[in-house]
């Protein structure tokens, strides 16, 4: 108890309403530095950063940016654009409907972080700073200048909260640090954006097309990154760049426009996704694409159970397994106990029906439980499925699943004479085996999206949400809780089974070890749930994005190796701390978690 009666140390710091920057520098100089720094950053990417091509991406060429330089170029261009826009340059002002300063800060931060990451990576990998060329030093210097300039931009400081003189030193420390944190947060926030001016609908549709094209480009770039450093740089630029666009108010405007044309957006997104195989020259990344789609589709199915009906299911991957096993057994595989080769449409029906039956069998006894107890029981059933599949091998039980060897050499699909196993030439593009399955999987995803959207916005969907919100009140409103929950469970199960039927053919083999509760490779129950929570519960885009990230990050960052799960856990903790509603916020959830934020109280559309 050191009763420090010292005068508050905040005496020197500015008071509320003061609008100085984080760094004591006149704002106009800061703005000039940030904008100029951004332009110079662009220029510096055309220089050589290192002398040897040993560092991946070949950063040695003058006049041609390569690898990480391209990412820095993009960040620098964004910085310059936002800088000019914050000057109020005509025509560019449209870029910053919510004010350009916060966006400028994030863009400068993106350029700085990527450049310095590159410098450090070069030095660490090649052994010492000597490996940097003058161009590298210039890039590092100009991005630092741009960042410092951006940080000097004025912002609305939060009112200082005087602390209790009775507090202990530790409490005072906590107080001041939270105060500083608030100030930093304030430095990076922006006002709410202007509403979108009314545009003719063809212009809005063109904007949507543009957005989707950019999204496809970003995704294709991310999936095609060839080495760890490039992927890390991609994550930095994509993350901070997206935040910059968000702070500029562009994301909010884009959301508004897409909300006006929902059907077009959804169809457009599928067309954009279907374009993905055409951007690839070989099957290497289409493989990733199809695995991501399987993972994402199952996550979306889980979102019905968890996001809409609020039933925490920790054994969901079992339904994928049931679908896959069912499809593999009727596929004509030599290790299948049945000598049966059904056409694909029949196999899909069998897979979905098997999962449905399994879902109802598990659901009927367990759905009488609520909350955590349900989670524990579903976790148990997920394991029961795996162990049962392991034991039905002819020695521990009847020979059905071929035990831990699984059902192997599942033949490729042949749909209406179209052999999915071989490459086809379509309009000059070679569409390989995985690309074929990518298209098929996209069709399944479309079905799941359709089911999710339509059922979510209907009597049954409202009943699900009502059960999630308050089960007692929902019962008192005449909702048969058990029945409605069972429907959610069964629908979720059969959608996962649907994905499973394709998965069986893609992977050739179905073994029990593919359907764990937690493992290092998705899909498993823990990752599925994480994809839903990370992406945003109750939304369509959320689980898709969450699944893509959760699949790509462990896949691309090979150096994480043993620390993969650790990094994954850390990321989840941080995300839940700072953005509990997930990456893609259901507008409803956003209100739930950020009540202090100005509440746009009206919702125009239900659900997603």
């Amino acid at each position: 108890m050191t009763t420090q009666t010292t005068t508050p140390k905040t005496a020197g710091t500015p008071t509320a309403g003061d609008t100085s920057g984080l760094i004591g520098m006149p704002p106009h100089i800061g703005r000039a530095l940030a904008t100029g720094g951004g332009a110079l950053t662009v220029a510096s990417t055309f220089l050589a950063w290192t002398w040897t091509a040993e560092f991946p991406g070949d950063l040695t060429v003058y006049g041609y940016p390569g690898g990480l330089q391209v990412l820095v170029l993009i960040a620098g261009a964004l910085t310059t654009l936002f800088g000019l826009a914050s000057y109020g340059v005509r025509g560019l002002r449209r870029l910053v409907p919510a004010g350009g300063d916060a966006a400028l800060k994030f863009a400068a931060l993106a350029a700085f972080a990527t450049t310095w990451y590159t410098m450090i990576a070069i030095s660490a990998q090649l052994g010492g700073l000597v490996n940097l060329e003058p161009g590298g030093y210039i890039a590092a210097a100009v991005t630092l200048i741009a960042l410092l300039g951006a940080l000097a931009l004025p912002f609305e400081r939060p009112a200082p909260d005087p602390f209790d003189p009775e507090d202990t030193g530790w409490e005072q420390f906590k107080h001041t640090s939270s105060q500083n944190w608030q100030t930093i947060r304030a430095a990076f926030t922006s006002s709410s954006p202007r509403p979108v001016p009314a545009l003719p609908s063809y212009a809005e549709i063109l904007i949507i097309v543009g957005i989707l094209a950019v999204a496809l480009l970003v995704f294709t770039y991310g999936i095609g990154t060839e080495y760890d450093e490039l992927f890390v740089g991609f994550l930095i630029v994509a993350g901070l760049g997206f935040t910059a666009l968000h702070r500029a108010g562009l994301i909010a405007q884009a959301t508004e426009i897409t909300a006006r044309h929902q059907n077009i957006t959804v169809c457009g997104a599928f067309i954009a996704a279907a374009c993905f195989p055409f951007t690839q020259s070989d099957d290497q990344y289409a493989t990733l694409g199809v695995y991501i789609l399987i993972f994402a589709t199952v996550a979306l199915g889980l979102n019905i159970v968890v996001g809409l009906a609020g039933l925490l299911d920790l054994g969901y991957v079992a339904f994928l397994g049931v679908g896959a096993y069912a499809a593999s057994m009727v596929s004509g595989s030599p290790s299948s106990p049945f000598d049966l080769h059904l056409p694909f449409w029949a196999a899909v029906l069998v897979g979905a029906a098997a999962s449905l039956v399994f879902g109802v069998l598990i659901g009927a006894p367990t759905l009488r439980l609520r909350g955590d107890y349900l989670a524990i029981v579903t976790l148990g059933f997920g394991e029961i499925f795996r162990i049962t599949a392991n034991n039905l091998d002819g020695t521990s039980g009847p020979d059905v699943t071929n035990g831990s060897n699984g059902i192997s050499s599942i033949p490729d699909l042949d749909i209406l004479g179209f052999d999915m196993g071989i490459a086809h030439d379509i309009g000059g593009f070679t569409i390989g085996r995985f690309a074929n399955y990518f298209f098929l999987m996209l069709l399944i995803t479309a079905v799941v999206v359709l089911v999710f959207r339509r059922s979510g916005d209907s009597r049954i969907g409202r009943a699900w949400v009502a059960i999630r919100e308050d089960e007692t009140a929902a019962l008192a409103m005449g909702i048969n809780g058990f029945r409605v929950k069972l429907i959610a469970f069964a629908v979720g199960a059969s959608l996962a089974g649907l994905a499973g039927t394709v998965q069986a053919h893609v992977t050739y083999t179905v073994t029990p070890e593919q359907y764990l509760f937690a493992g290092t490779t998705p899909p498993n129950s823990a990752f599925l749930l994480a994809a839903v929570v990370l992406g945003g519960m109750g939304t369509i885009a959320g689980p898709l994005i969450g699944a893509a990230l959760l699949f790509l990050i462990p896949n691309k960052l090979q150096f994480l190796d043993d620390y993969q799960l650790f990094a994954f856990g850390l990321a989840l903790v941080l995300l839940m701390r700072f953005r509990p509603e997930g990456l893609v916020a259901n507008r409803r959830r956003k209100l739930e978690f950020h009540e202090e934020a100005e509440a746009p109280t009206t919702l125009s559309k239900t659900g997603a």
């Binding site: 009597r459 409202r462 009140a473 429907i487 509440a599 109280t601 919702l603």
Partner: protein, 311 residues
């Protein structure tokens, strides 16, 4: 069963006592050794507003829960329009009894309109397949439901807030929304559990008007309330529940004049006339205070309270 006749006798004020909507006979609810509700009989006729009052812990809400299927009565039976009520609360709602809750239980993260649409659940049939396939029947049913829900919101005065989140409504409007949601299930009997709790006088009056309007729609109302003025203004008949048993039942005047009711709320009467006795106590205390003021100051606080003297 024997009390049935007496309850009918005590309804002279009812304008046109229609058919019996709700008929609870000998409802008893025990939780282990505790008897929360003991042999309560209650009837509600159509077009009637019946009040249910009693001190805290008298078993009013437990009785409500027995009527709505949340609890299954240990003994006795509840009939709605002659049919014994099913034991599941969602079936009770489907049968035609809707309720509100003492502590508001809205679907907080749904919009106002969606809340009312959930109330329509029992009156619509569209299932999962209909929602996915979206045939013409689905659109028709959805449109009808929305229309009906908007009418109800209009009725309670929330139509302009249809797209707001329920959690963002002010307290009084949340109560109104709960009533609208209950009405959406097209009930024959509406059970209101403390509809004016926490309201200011204006809001209470507005609620009173609302309940009358609901009665005029031909829906019988059974209401639990602590606000006596509200109850006696509103109800055709009032039943008093004390320690799980029905003490009296009758029109406002009968209940207001009943000594036992006053006793139940204010404590045991002193001698013959509690009012006079109390006044005498106060007078005596004041006199004592005046006389003893010069001698001792600190005794005054002890003698002031009339009840304290009884010990």
């Amino acid at each position: 069963m024997t009390t049935d006749t007496t309850t009918k006798d005590t309804t002279p004020g009812t304008p046109a006592p229609g058919t019996t909507v709700l008929d609870a006979r000998g409802v008893t609810m025990r939780f282990g050794g505790l008897t929360a509700v003991n042999g309560v009989d209650l009837t509600v006729n159509s077009g009637e507003i019946v009040g249910l009052i009693g001190p805290n812990g008298a078993g009013k809400t437990t009785f409500f829960n027995c009527l709505t299927g949340l609890y299954i009565p240990t003994e006795g039976e509840v009939r709605y329009k002659g049919e014994v009520l099913p034991a599941k609360s969602f079936k009770v709602t489907a049968a035609g009894i809707a309720r509100t809750f003492q502590n508001i239980r809205l679907f907080a993260n749904m919009t106002v309109l969606e809340n009312v649409l959930v109330g329509r659940h029992t009156r619509t049939k569209e299932g999962f397949w209909s929602a996915v396939l979206r045939g013409p029947g689905f659109h028709r049913a959805e449109a009808t439901s929305r229309e009906r829900a908007m009418e109800l919101l209009e009725f309670v005065g929330l139509a302009d807030k249809a797209e707001h989140l329920a959690r963002n409504l002010p307290y009084g409007e949340q109560r109104k929304l709960e009533i609208a949601r209950a009405l959406a299930s097209e009930p024959g009997l509406l059970l209101l559990d403390e509809p004016t709790a926490g309201m200011n006088p204006q809001e209470t009056r507005a609620t009173e008007e609302l309940v009358f309007a609901i009665r005029d729609k031909g829906i019988a109302v059974l209401v639990i309330e602590h606000d006596m003025r509200f109850i006696f203004n509103l109800c055709d008949r009032v039943a008093v529940l004390v320690q799980g048993e029905k003490l009296v039942e009758g029109d406002s005047a009968t209940v207001q004049g009943d000594e036992r009711v006053v006793a139940a709320y204010l404590g045991e009467p002193l001698d013959n006339d509690p009012g006079a006795a109390e006044a005498a106590e106060v007078e005596a205390a004041e006199a004592a205070q005046a006389s003893s003021a010069a001698q001792a100051d600190d005794t005054t606080t002890d003698t002031a309270a009339g009840k304290e003297n009884d010990r």
